[in-house]
């Protein structure tokens, strides 16, 4: 692989971030349409064909609204808290690989921003940074409901972060790597089981970890049925009650970008990322397969929201510590034992 000049990396990062923002805007449209279909409604129809211009209209509306700050607020913290959520969400796209090296006009271009040696840890670390924005925004609002939402969020993220990280340990054991790109490349190989040829996706060797990862990821992104921090019916939207206009929209952007990033992460770690028919020959097909997997996960998110009622707080903590944590620890031990046996070090 040829090295590329640093400015190409910057251009690629710029394109990825903008694609992510547009993707986020249309994620809101997608969510509203799917929810509407599930509830026998039409969803947005007025702005553009099939309401396709709705996200743009929403953005313009949010820009034009008044930016309110409560009198008792901690102003400085109130200003930067939404930005923490947003930046921590966007920056995570840097370690997601969208393909290998391609050649554009004779220049080598990597379809990933950085191949960090500890890419998976980078994603987890910035996931936990994002919650600072929530708890600080909640504190700075000087509002009881906000603070309750923030405290819930902190407890939830501390619990589910552990499970999210531990569910990936099985993959780290099998792949002997923490680099997201390395793990994805390993999955492009095929697995021969007698007459059947299967893709070497980690969902096949780590099915339990996949299920636990999905549950923990929904909790980590504060989405229904784990959306206790912003439970509208009891906490009046929780941590962002006092936020309005574009400051509110940063929270909103952060939440949806987090959903997309977690979907990309899950697709790359468990479903082979760009792996699919023809992806080894045409890089466009690789991106296409990755997007198909991501849309599947995003649909799953919306589906959960339309189907399940919100968990009670004690149930949320009970599931994390009494069910998921033991399961994920068993998964790690079993994976480690199988790996040792495969190396011939066990018996």
């Amino acid at each position: 692989m040829e090295p590329q000049p640093i400015w190409v990396t910057f251009v690629v990062a710029f394109i990825f971030m903008n694609v992510l923002l547009v993707g986020m805007a249309y994620m809101t449209w997608f969510e509203r349409k799917v929810l509407a279909a599930m509830q026998d409604r039409l969803g947005p129809t007025r702005t553009g064909p099939h309401g396709l211009l709705q996200p743009i209209a929403d953005g313009i509306k949010l820009l034009g609204k008044e930016d309110l700050i409560p009198a008792a607020a901690d102003r400085l913290v109130f200003y930067f808290a939404p930005l923490v959520v947003f930046v921590a969400a966007v920056v995570r796209v840097a370690v997601i690989p969208f393909g290998n090296q391609i050649t554009v006009f004779g220049h080598p271009v990597n379809l990933f921003v950085a191949d960090l040696n500890v890419g998976a840890l980078f994603l987890l670390a910035f996931g936990s940074i994002g919650v600072y924005g929530i708890i600080l925004g909640a504190y700075a609002s000087a509002n009881r409901y906000s603070l309750l939402g923030g405290l819930r969020s902190a407890a939830q993220v501390i619990s589910y972060e552990i499970i999210l990280g531990l569910s990936l340990v099985g993959i780290f054991l099998l792949s002997q790597s923490l680099s997201v790109r390395q793990i994805m490349l390993l999955q492009t190989a095929s697995l021969q089981l007698g007459p059947v040829t299967l893709p070497n996706w980690f969902i096949l060797s780590q099915p339990l970890a996949f299920v636990i990862f999905l549950i923990a990821a929904v909790a980590e992104t504060n989405r229904a049925p784990f959306d206790l921090p912003e439970a509208e019916t009891e906490l009046v939207s929780g941590f962002h009650t006092e936020y309005s206009a574009f400051r509110f929209s940063f929270y909103f952007l952060g939440e949806y970008i987090n959903m997309i990033i977690v979907s990309l992460f899950a697709a790359t770690m468990f479903l082979g990322g760009i792996d699919g028919p023809g992806s080894d020959r045409f890089w466009v097909l690789g991106i296409f397969w990755l997007l198909v997997k991501v849309v599947f996960f995003l649909f799953f998110y919306v589906w959960l929201r339309a189907t399940l009622p919100r968990f009670r707080y004690d149930q949320l903590m009970g599931i994390a510590w009494k069910v998921l944590l033991p399961l994920v620890l068993i998964n790690i031990i079993v994976t480690a034992l199988i790996r040792l046996a495969g190396n011939g070090q066990l018996f």
Binding site: N117, V118, L121, L124, I135, L136
Partner: protein, 239 residues
């Protein structure tokens, strides 16, 4: 000056300014935020040194720890009534200044004399590349060479966890089960529980007198009195 040096000095400057901010800020939450900024910059310096694993662990572990610190600050500290704000805790002030001066002296001497040098390990970039990367190299050393200290540390942490659980336990085991109550929200309109006649569940009919009583309570709003939900919903029919 190379780009690396410029980036390092920016990181170091922000790091030191944030460290000063921890000490001088009056609001404990602000101080905690400054601590996070300091750790973040230290993590960035680790990245510049090629220790990506250490940087990621620094962010994950310290970010999580600081989050708990912020929570404790919000829940337990009254920022408007700290003893420090009205000349409280004289002993701590003197001891703090003294210890700070001793540390400054030590670090200063070490920097001036350049005597504080650790033995250089055998981890060259080639050797690290051979095992797969910094994270893998660290894993090998941690679980082979330093396996015993690692286990002792985990034992100490386990004792801490057990201590926390013992402190949080109720006085007598089994006490908590007596207090458990079901929480069921019926979401009925306000005032109905006053108006409805007492009787066996679902059997007492709603009389005309009840209707008048609730109508008086609720004013003009239309009120639906439901004793038996099955009367209003039919199984299998979709409206």
């Amino acid at each position: 000056m190379t780009l690396d040096a410029i980036v390092f000095y920016i990181l170091a400057a922000v790091c030191l300014l944030a460290a000063v901010g921890v000490v001088v800020s009056r609001n404990p939450v602000h101080a905690a935020v400054f601590v996070v900024i300091t750790f973040f910059n230290v993590a960035a310096i680790f990245v510049m040194l090629g220790a990506e694993f250490l940087a990621a662990v620094q962010v994950i572990v310290y970010a999580g720890a600081m989050l708990v610190l912020v929570l404790f600050t919000i829940m337990l500290v009254d920022p408007d009534n700290l003893p420090e704000l009205h000349a409280g805790r004289p002993v701590q002030r003197v001891v703090g200044v003294l210890l700070g001066l001793i540390l400054l002296l030590e670090v200063g001497l070490a920097i001036i004399n350049r005597t504080f040098t650790a033995p250089t390990g055998n981890a060259t970039p080639e050797l690290i590349g051979l095992v797969g990367g910094p994270a893998q190299a660290m894993g090998y050393i941690l679980y082979n060479q330093y396996a015993l200290p690692f286990e002792i540390v985990s034992l100490v942490l386990l004792v801490g966890v057990i201590g926390a659980i013992v402190l949080a336990l109720p006085e007598r085991l089994g006490e908590q089960f007596g207090l458990r109550r079901g929480t069921i929200s019926l979401g009925h309109p306000r005032g109905t529980e006053v108006a409805l006649p007492t009787g066996p569940d679902g059997e007492a009919p709603i009389t005309e007198a009840d209707r008048k009583e609730t109508a008086a309570l609720e004013g003009t709003r239309e009120l639906i009195l439901v004793r038996d939900p099955d009367k209003y919903t039919t199984v299998g029919e979709r409206r």
